[in-house]
Symmetry: C2
Subunit: 145 residues, 2 copies
DNA sequence: GTCATAACCTGATGTCATTCGGTAGAAATT
DNA sequence: AATTTCTACCGAATGACATCAGGTTATGAC
């Protein structure tokens, strides 16, 4: 993982549709060499997947919120329970007052309420605190440096 | 944006490297028809970009945290100030006690402390509360339904 | 200095993206 | 109802590109 690999990752984050020849141009290598480097980055898991970035609004998911989940039990093995809720985009175990932090996308705040109800149904959950996003400044890829 | 478009988006989220012929197989259309549909999804902005999903650990960014920023002024036009901090991956204006919520990735907790220091330097910021993630259950694409 | 390994380049091959002409169905107009 | 218009689709053709292989240079170990 040298400076060229980082440059390649940065380029691919910006636009993963560009050709290996174009990538080679921007880092000063041949298409073949770039192909081999990217293949290894995928193999090692540094590049997990090639995906598309979708506009949530286009899917009718206009409401973004973060939910702090309080619990009265060990939450270390409840990943599947949260994953079963399709509105939950991220789930993290956190240090501090609450024990789990969720990123939730719903069409409306009414549907958020319904998600909160389903969260309460999960074993060990004792309470929730929802933080509704009013405006997203930005969501961007990880900075590669 | 019909059911076929949603299926295409779901497929592309899973793997954007597959051929249009393969995509056509999974939705029952020809490669040409799929090509045209995807082109329009990009044009409309439903598909914002094609990118790679990078493992933060591979870039040495092992610490994920969320930072609640308290303020004593209107924070509606401070997007650029937060965007200037490369460790900040997301920034949202939120309803509730704090006024901005940040998603921050750093190599270490010491570097998180340094980011907090730089956040304090932003005009209008009166305080911060950092929530450190102990374990990420999952981070996944938006559910297309 | 020599050997071994890894990274690279160039060129060849097959696959695929992209485009085009034509067709069928749906919707709007007369 | 007939006609027109528009949209989505298919199948084929073309050119670009991913992918692979053979040979070469650079890198590092002994």
């Amino acid at each position: 993982m040298d400076q060229i690999d980082r440059a390649l990752i940065a380029q691919l984050q910006r636009d993963a549709t560009q050709s290996y020849a174009a990538l080679g141009q921007s880092v000063g290598l041949s298409a073949g060499a770039v192909h081999e480097r990217v293949r290894k980055l995928r193999e090692r898991g540094a590049i997990r997947a090639t995906t598309v970035d979708v506009d949530p609004k286009a899917l009718g998911l206009g409401v973004l919120s973060y939910v702090m989940v309080d619990s009265n039990a060990w939450m270390g093995d409840t990943a599947a329970a949260f994953a079963a809720l399709p509105e939950v985009q991220e789930a993290h175990v956190i240090a501090g007052a609450a024990s789990v932090l969720l990123k939730v996308r719903t069409p409306t705040t009414e549907q958020l309420q319904d998600v909160l109800r389903r969260i309460y149904d999960i074993s060990g959950v004792s309470g929730t605190q929802a933080i509704v996003v009013l405006e997203t400044f930005f969501e961007r890829p990880i900075a590669v440096g």
